[in-house]
């Protein structure tokens, strides 16, 4: 009974996460070996008569990032804000906005109520790598400020938890095949030796 349940869950959870596993695995090659080629930038667009929330000279962090959200639909941009920089000398607000496929830098002149937006397209490999890396470890206080990033975080976490379940259930299913136990144990030991040997060499080797 347990075997059948685990076999079915192994199969169906595995099928669900398989596109995500392919995405994370394929993007590894670009992250490890790819180089960003110049291009993809489009001419800057200028937007006028913007309705701009006040208080950017006072608020910081998440509160400032949340206020900047009101500007995005007015400049035809959607995505997660990476950081927010207020330049007090010129009363400018500068922030990058990104999502898979495109990124933009929005430069708002708070006094003139205008914004200049520079956009750049990502190719497929960049988009895969972008999804691989978000939400990521940086700017903890402000990340997840877009529904797309929040949704992806849930899916990325689910992929990890389900991958852990699939790997543990896979061990159970393998162990049930008595004829494969020794070969499997040998491979398990070989994998562990490779991994921990590498870690030791990187940490302590000369």
């Amino acid at each position: 009974m347990l075997y059948r349940w685990l076999r079915d869950l192994h199969l169906y959870f595995g099928l669900f996460i398989s596109p995500f596993i392919l995405l994370f695995a394929a993007s590894v090659f670009y992250l490890n070996h790819g180089k960003l080629s110049p291009g993809g930038e489009r001419p800057a667009d200028t937007y006028r008569d913007l309705t701009i929330p006040d208080g950017f000279d006072r608020v910081k962090g998440r509160e400032a990032v949340d206020r900047a959200e009101a500007i995005l639909p007015q400049v035809d941009v959607a995505g997660g804000r990476g950081f927010l920089r207020y330049v007090p000398e010129y009363h400018h607000l500068i922030f990058p906005v990104s999502r898979a496929g495109s990124e933009a830098t929005v430069d708002v002149d708070l006094d003139a109520r205008t914004a200049t937006v520079k956009r750049r397209s990502m190719n497929l490999w960049e988009s895969l790598s972008y999804l691989h890396k978000i939400p990521g470890p940086h700017n903890v206080a402000i990340r997840g400020n877009w529904i797309g990033t929040q949704a992806w975080r849930v899916l990325a976490d689910a992929t990890i938890y389900l991958a852990l379940f699939v790997s543990l259930s896979g061990i159970y299913l393998w162990w049930a095949i008595k004829a494969e136990r020794w070969t499997g144990l040998t491979l398990l030991a070989a994998g562990a030796t490779t991994l921990f040997g590498l870690i030791f060499a990187i940490l302590h080797g000369n």
Binding site: L11, L15, S18, L23, H33, A100, L131, L198, I202
Partner: protein
């Protein structure tokens, strides 16, 4: 090879690869969780710092990399090298890092002196760094690997990625050969594909 033999070997390959890469998968899964949930960890980035200066022979070599390596040899440092954008005249400045720590080195060639700041990372931080330890950044064209251990680690990461792709494709074949569960499998796989696609095509 007949269909039956292909099925048997595909199934064996699936769990052989899975067993060999099991601990690699757990490492990248757990460090992936860490990277996405920094709020779970307090003091993760605290590190111990030591500073010293020491005499050094003018690093030998014709190129920046060979002079840097000679300086590292004299200072008994190992790791991935990273140079600042600009080098002061008469200096060889570089950073060298590996998961458990890093060093900022400023070599004054004329004074024959090296000023070193070494940082030792905590265990959890070192563990997390293995997830991203590739020595190369795709958005920094000048960055490249220059330590053999980094290249070997990157090879291991590539092998895991290739192994996972083979396992996934093999699992599609195994599932498709099953007599039962196709409709539910198609539904679940479609949900997974749709979940990826809405992000990839920029809907979200």
């Amino acid at each position: 090879m007949g269909t039956k033999a292909l099925e048997v070997w595909n199934r064996k390959l699936h769990y052989y690869l899975g067993l060999y890469f099991l601990f690699f998968l757990w490492l990248f899964s757990l460090t992936g969780l860490m990277l996405n949930h920094q709020q779970w960890f307090r003091d993760l980035y605290e590190r111990r710092q030591t500073s010293y200066d020491t005499p050094i022979e003018g690093p030998a070599g014709d190129t920046q990399i060979s002079r840097t390596r000679d300086a590292m040899r004299q200072l008994n440092l190992q790791g991935e090298i990273d140079w600042p954008a600009a080098q002061p005249v008469g200096h060889i400045d570089f950073n060298v890092s590996r998961p458990n720590g890093s060093a900022q080195v400023r070599v004054d060639v004329n004074a024959k002196k090296a000023y070193v700041r070494e940082f030792e990372n905590g265990h959890l931080h070192a563990f997390q760094i293995f997830h991203t330890f590739s020595g190369s950044r795709f958005n920094q064209p000048a960055s490249q690997r220059d330590w053999v251990m980094t290249s070997i680690w990157v090879f291991a990461m590539d092998a895991l990625a290739a192994g996972l792709i083979v396992m996934v494709l093999g699992s599609y074949y195994m599932w498709w050969r099953l007599k039962k569960g196709k409709a539910l499998g198609v539904l679940i796989l479609s949900a997974g594909i749709a979940g990826c696609a809405v992000f990839l095509v920029g809907i979200l």
